[in-house]
Amino acid sequence: MLGEGILKGLGETARNFAGSFVSADRLTTVQYPEERIAPIEATRDFPFLVYDGADWEAGLRCVACQICEKECPPKCIYIVKSTDKKPDALGKPQIYPARFDIDISVCMSCQICVEVCPFEAIKMDTEFELSTTDRFGGLLYDKKELAKSNEHFHKVHPTEAAEVDARLAEEKSKAEAKAKAAAAAAAAKAAVPATPPKPAAPTPAATPIAPAPAEEKKP
């Protein structure tokens, strides 16, 4: 019968209209500035630099190897290597980034910098309220603005951070074991011959986690 569907439709909209006042779960809108939903764990938008310990400058994991700068598709990372070396979180002297800038307005959140970093030094953040009145300076983040603690990383991406920590700990223990073995071997060697080759012994300890600096020469 003609008009039946129209009446049915009118009933449906009337039910929606009345129902939206009665049951709150009909209204799926999250009224953003006042209400928010927690971001899901896979959320990622812009990269940040992880540091260990309390002092951000001393604890940066980044050793300015510039792999991320080279890999970045839109070229939004700018790194200046330091000329001197400073002890890193493990106490080993390392080159550190004198400047590390990321232009957030250029970054396309591809996460390639995170994937290529051999030091777990750059990770993705979930902070999205980044609007600013200065569209040039305000969106160019320097080292200080990018540095965030490992605890922050644990907070935004707990699973990934735990994995990273486990991996780093494993590497560290491996390196220590290797160093110990090398030291033991050196000691054994020293015990047998009269003149042992002394300086070679402790150096291999650090090599497994520091492969990069070979690339630093520019063409």
Binding site: M1, L2, G3, I6, G9, L10, E12, T13, A14, N16, F17, G19, S20, F21, R26, L27, T28, T29, Q31
Partner: protein, 391 residues
């Protein structure tokens, strides 16, 4: 006291002009009436827009606007400021004069329709004997403004929208007139005041509105359908179908001219709703005799606003028609039914009082409704769509 409240605006107007010399009193009184209409109905338009945005939101399980003021009640103010401060762009190749005149003409014409509507007891601005005729004559010239807008914009979408609008408005003007003709036949007058007076009687406390008769109900529904189409209102809003025509005939309008179109459209809708209320819903008369103490102008405005809410409800429910469906519906279904309704009204008049005429008149209309739906509106004819692609 009740009489005073009912006539408050009339008395106020007379009191105001009593300070003027006699020869000036009549023109100033009319001018005051014009000003009242021009202030009241745009205010109702603002309320309607708010109701529409909130109501449509609720129908789609959204909140609707709720930021400007408590519960978003100042949203129309914000909208108004926005459209006033926007840049007014006229296309380089457009006919600038006609482009400017089209929205102005629309608004003027739409407001002229209110001249004959009895907004309350003794509150008709111009008491014309052929008021209904005047309303339809003026209402038909909105087509001109729509076509002016479409033609002067020099835009294919505008022109297509305007052509659709004119085709649609002319098609639906016929059933609109035909359905109100039954009322005019019954009352024997084209004067809106006489039509309201004829309905402003009560038996057992119930009103003699025409909508409570078989032919009146059918006429009212047909009038509502034709009126919706006449004002380019959803589901008959093909002339401004966003999905295919950007915005139809006002594609090239921005800023205040667009706001004028918007205003004209809604004020036109309220005009049609007011005419429908006058013809079928007893105009300014109360729905029950016991409610007679409420001022008459309140009832008129309440009826108009209820009609607007119904328009909003329909807009929230029905999808837009296709052009062929629109024409099919007008010529094969609505028009035959309105013609039959004329006959039905005559039958009702000459069968005299009694229960028999209720059965006969209802049966005729019901049978015709079912038969026309079967014959004219079956879907087999459209069939499944076949597509042909370029080789």
């Amino acid at each position: 006291m009740i009489e005073k409240a009912d006539q408050i605006f009339v008395l106020l107007g007379h009191w105001l002009v009593s300070f003027l010399p006699v020869w000036l009193q009549q023109p100033v009184l009319v001018l005051l009436g014009v000003v009242c209409i021009i202030v009241t109905f745009p205010a109702l338009f603002a309320i309607t827009v708010l109701l529409e945005r909130k109501g449509l939101g609720r129908m789609q399980n959204r909140y609707g606007p709720n930021r400007v003021g408590p519960y978003g009640i100042f949203q129309p103010v914000a909208d108004g400021i926005k459209s006033l401060t926007k840049e007014d762009i006229v296309p380089l190749n457009a006919d600038a004069v006609v482009h400017f005149l089209a929205p102005v003409f629309l608004v003027v014409v739409v407001f002229m329709g209110y001249a004959i509507l009895p907004i309350g007891r003794n509150m008709t601005l111009v008491n014309l004997d052929a008021g209904i005729l005047f309303f339809f004559a003026i209402g038909a010239s909105t087509e001109l403004s729509v076509f002016m807008a479409g033609w002067s914009s020099r835009n294919k979408y505008s022109l297509l929208g305007a052509m659709r609008a004119v085709a649609q408005m002319i098609s639906y003007e016929v059933p609109l007139l035909m359905s109100s003709l039954a009322v005019i036949m019954m009352t024997g007058s084209l004067s809106p005041n006489r039509i309201v007076d004829a309905q402003n009687q009560y038996t057992f406390g119930l009103p003699h509105w025409y909508v409570f008769t078989p032919w009146g109900l059918a006429g009212f529904i047909l009038f509502a359908v034709a009126g919706t189409a006449e004002t380019n209102r959803s589901p008959f809003d093909l002339p401004e179908g966003e999905s295919e025509l950007v915005a139809g005939y006002f594609t090239e309008y921005s800023g205040f001219k667009f706001a004028l179109f918007f205003l004209g459209e809604y004020v036109g809708m309220m005009g049609i709703a007011g005419l429908g209320a006058t013809l079928f819903l007893g105009g300014y008369s109360a729905p029950l005799e016991v409610l007679g103490f409420v001022p008459s102008w309140f009832w008129f405005i309440a009826k108009v606003m209820v009609a607007m809410c119904f328009f909003i409800w329909v807009r929230g429910t029905l999808p837009r028609l296709r052009q062929d469906q629109l024409m099919n519906f007008a010529w094969k279904f609505v028009l035959p039914l309105t013609l039959l309704n004329l006959f039905d009204a005559a039958l009702w008049r000459f069968m005299g009082p009694g229960l028999l005429r209720w059965f006969v008149c209802s049966a005729i209309l019901l049978v015709a409704y079912v038969a026309l739906a079967r014959i004219g509106m079956t879907r087999e004819k459209f069939g499944p769509r076949s597509y042909r692609y370029a080789e």
